[in-house]
């Protein structure tokens, strides 16, 4: 009786959320799905074009390459950062955390334009390096994949740092002390105990960064120039330039399927509920 009642109560508690998700996410998605198969009647034309037009394949490949590069950059920057933050006193830890989060609270556009200022031909980076005599010619840091990767890695870094730092903080200090006392050198303890135990946080963060990168739009649009077209831009072009809602929907559906695919593959290697802290 009691469990039945609490079961019903749970459904009631879930109802608002379910309604919002259903009305604002599920229905539009179904609408998109329907659109992608419609071209003056039921048609597969939007999907066949994805395979026939080589620019689509090129864009998908580039998107995954950039997402991979962004994830790798974020991991290489974020892991040492988290490890360093872990050793700080609580006060300085909070300061470091705020420094990580401040860009997170700043508008995406502002941050992207800030990179524009830094990375352009006559930008701060290039002029400084030239003044110092390191460079004779300015580097092409923008309007290409490099600029897109730098900008996105910076903007998405908090998504890696947050779950990774939480996981690192959750590692029992006694485990490390036990490992040291039992004869493990600092290097041995790091690779055999600390790193494996931080992996769930690292994978969670990397997965978040990767998935967010795949669908990113603003930063590649501004920093990538016309030459690097990621999937998000492809969808936008289909609508803005060609007013082809069907084609845009088809690309969206493929993108969605790919993201789901990434999750599916990852779930084979680790339990996602643990990654996202449900357990």
């Amino acid at each position: 009786m009691a469990s039945e009642r609490s079961g019903r109560a749970h459904v009631l508690l879930l109802l608002p959320g379910l309604l919002v998700v259903g009305a604002l996410l599920l229905l539009p998605l179904l609408w998109l799905l329907a659109l992608s198969f419609y071209d003056n009647g039921l048609s597969l034309v939007h999907y066949t074009r994805l395979f026939e037009d080589p620019s689509y394949a090129k864009s998908f490949l580039l998107t995954f390459q950039i997402a991979g590069a962004v994830t790798l950059t974020a991991v290489l920057l974020g892991y040492p950062l988290c490890y360093w933050m872990l050793g700080l006193s609580p006060t300085w830890q909070r300061v470091a955390f705020i420094c990580v989060l401040i860009p997170f609270w700043t508008s995406l556009l502002v941050r992207t334009y800030a990179w524009l200022v830094l990375l352009q031909r006559r930008g701060l980076v290039n002029t400084t390096l030239q003044d110092l005599g390191v460079l004779s010619e300015p580097l092409a840091l923008m309007y290409n994949a490099t600029g897109t990767t730098i900008g996105m890695a910076h903007i998405l870094l908090p998504f890696l740092v947050l779950p990774l730092f939480a996981t690192m903080q959750g590692i029992d200090r006694d485990l490390l002390r036990a490992a040291a006392a039992l004869g493990g050198s600092p290097r041995f303890v790091f690779w055999r105990v600390f790193f494996p135990l931080s992996l769930p946080g690292l994978t969670a963060g990397a997965l978040l960064v990767f998935v967010l990168s795949i669908g990113y739009y603003v930063t590649p649009q501004l920093l990538g120039g016309g030459s690097t077209v990621m999937i998000g831009q492809l969808i936008q072009r289909n609508i803005e330039l060609f007013s082809s809602w069907g084609a845009a929907s088809a690309v969206s559906m493929v993108l969605l399927a790919m993201v789901m695919g990434v999750f599916l593959v990852m779930s084979r290697f680790l339990s996602l509920d643990r990654v996202f802290g449900a357990r």
Binding site: D174, L175, R177, A179, A180, A181, L182, G184, P186, R192
Partner: protein
């Protein structure tokens, strides 16, 4: 302040055999008796299995260790000598510094002053992983991402032991803790008691000369804890490794140790065999912390007697100097005086009586608002003749049990 009775002796630098550990040091202000073996108890060496009779340097030697965290002094000039193969317990309430002392021995914490020696080697600046110690923590600290066998193999792998040898030694260690065949299990498939055994196996697998245990049993329930106490003792007797054991449980300390170091506010209040610590506490704190004792204010009459509320009690052990003295009255040492028995007997009024299974506990008043507890085993011979609440009775305390300490140090 008077020196703790025995600590000045046993902390002395002279090499000594186990049986002379408790010989009196006869310091200048040492007015206390010597207890060669603890008058009623075992000699220290009797319980130790190995190594107590050679005159090598101490297995562990902490010299004048001090540690402060911020403004609070956690360890105040602590010295501790542990003989090879000895089982020593650091006992004290939380905040007494016992864990800090263990951390200093393990190398997790560096002392602000003082030094730590293992044998002849000064290890004060040696990092933990080069100290060769086996360690067991309160929360087991097992590696959750490894199997039981991998956990136990960790110290061997860290030392670069060859693969084939690892399997043999892991099997040996697991069989010692009665976990044969559990090697493939995951840690989260084990019960609390089993986890503690894995932690033990991991601490002993590389046959360390020194094992440190930080409240290893406090997370277990009472029955399992008592069982594991016996197992750890047995294991200690088989392996003969010097063991430092931290606990706040005085009964556990009494059960397991060759010697107990009682810590209070960052100092060692007493370091002696369990029998000595129990029967002849160094001060009011030790008397109060160990066992069930009432500390009753008494007046010094002479070397061998004190006055308790008008009754003069004879004491077998010399009464210390000072005008603030307390008689240590352990509830089980009191008994009902026989008719006509007057020596060391005093009148009381029974206030209440509680049945506690194996014994009855009576709260009695001795006048002047002072009350004592008095414990008597339940037995058909005596149950009928026990005084009822409100009645007068006469209790006697054997001179050997009439032990007096300086008052005023109880928490």
């Amino acid at each position: 302040m008077r020196q703790p009775i025995l600590s000045d002796v046993v902390q002395g630098p002279a090499p000594h055999s186990g049986l002379t550990l408790l010989r009196s040091g006869a310091g200048p202000d040492d007015t206390r008796p010597s207890f060669p073996d603890g008058p009623h108890g075992l000699a220290v060496g009797e319980r130790a299995s190995t190594g107590m009779t050679n005159a090598q340097p101490h297995a562990i030697c902490v010299r004048a260790a001090c540690k402060r965290f911020g403004t609070s002094v956690v360890l105040d000039d602590v010295s501790l000598d542990v003989a090879d193969g000895e089982f020593v317990t650091l006992l004290g309430p939380s905040g007494s510094g016992k864990t800090t002392l263990l951390n200093i021995i393990a190398g997790f914490t560096a002392p602000d002053a003082g030094s730590v020696h293992f044998g002849a080697e000064d290890v004060t600046r040696v990092p933990p992983h080069k100290r060769g110690i086996g360690i067991v923590f309160q929360n087991y600290a097992l590696f959750p991402h490894m199997s039981v066998a991998d956990n136990v193999a960790f110290p061997l792998k860290a030392r670069g032991v060859a693969g084939g040898e690892i399997a043999d030694q892991v099997a040996w260690a697991l069989s010692l803790v009665k976990l044969d065949g559990y090697g493939g299990r995951r840690i989260d498939q084990l019960s609390g008691g089993q986890r503690q055994r894995v932690a033990l196996a991991r601490a002993i697998v590389f046959r360390p000369k020194l094992i440190l245990m930080d409240e290893p049993l406090s997370a277990l329930d009472k029955q399992l804890r008592e069982h594991m106490q016996i197992e750890i003792r047995t294991l200690h007797e088989r392996l003969g490794a010097t063991t430092i054991y931290v606990t706040h449980d005085q009964r556990e300390a009494l059960t397991m140790s060759n010697r107990i170091a009682v810590l209070n506010k960052g100092r060692i209040a007493q370091f002696a065999a369990p029998e000595t610590v129990y029967n002849y506490p160094a001060d009011a704190f030790v008397a109060d912390f160990i066992g069930e004792a009432a500390l009753v204010p008494v007046e010094r009459v002479d070397e061998s007697s004190v006055r308790l509320e008008g009754t003069v009690l004879r004491c077998a052990q010399p009464v210390p100097q000072g005008d603030k003295l307390a008689l240590v009255v352990r509830s089980e040492k009191l008994r009902l005086a026989r008719d006509g028995e007057d020596e060391n007997a005093f009148p009381v009024t029974v206030r209440s009586r509680m049945f506690q299974g194996e014994s009855q506990l009576m709260v009695v008043e001795i006048g002047g608002g002072l009350s004592l507890t008095f414990r008597l085993p339940t037995h058909v011979d005596t149950d009928g003749s026990l005084p009822q609440p409100g009645q007068q009775a006469k209790l006697s305390l054997h001179p050997e049990h009439a032990f007096v300490v300086p008052a005023g140090q109880a928490p």
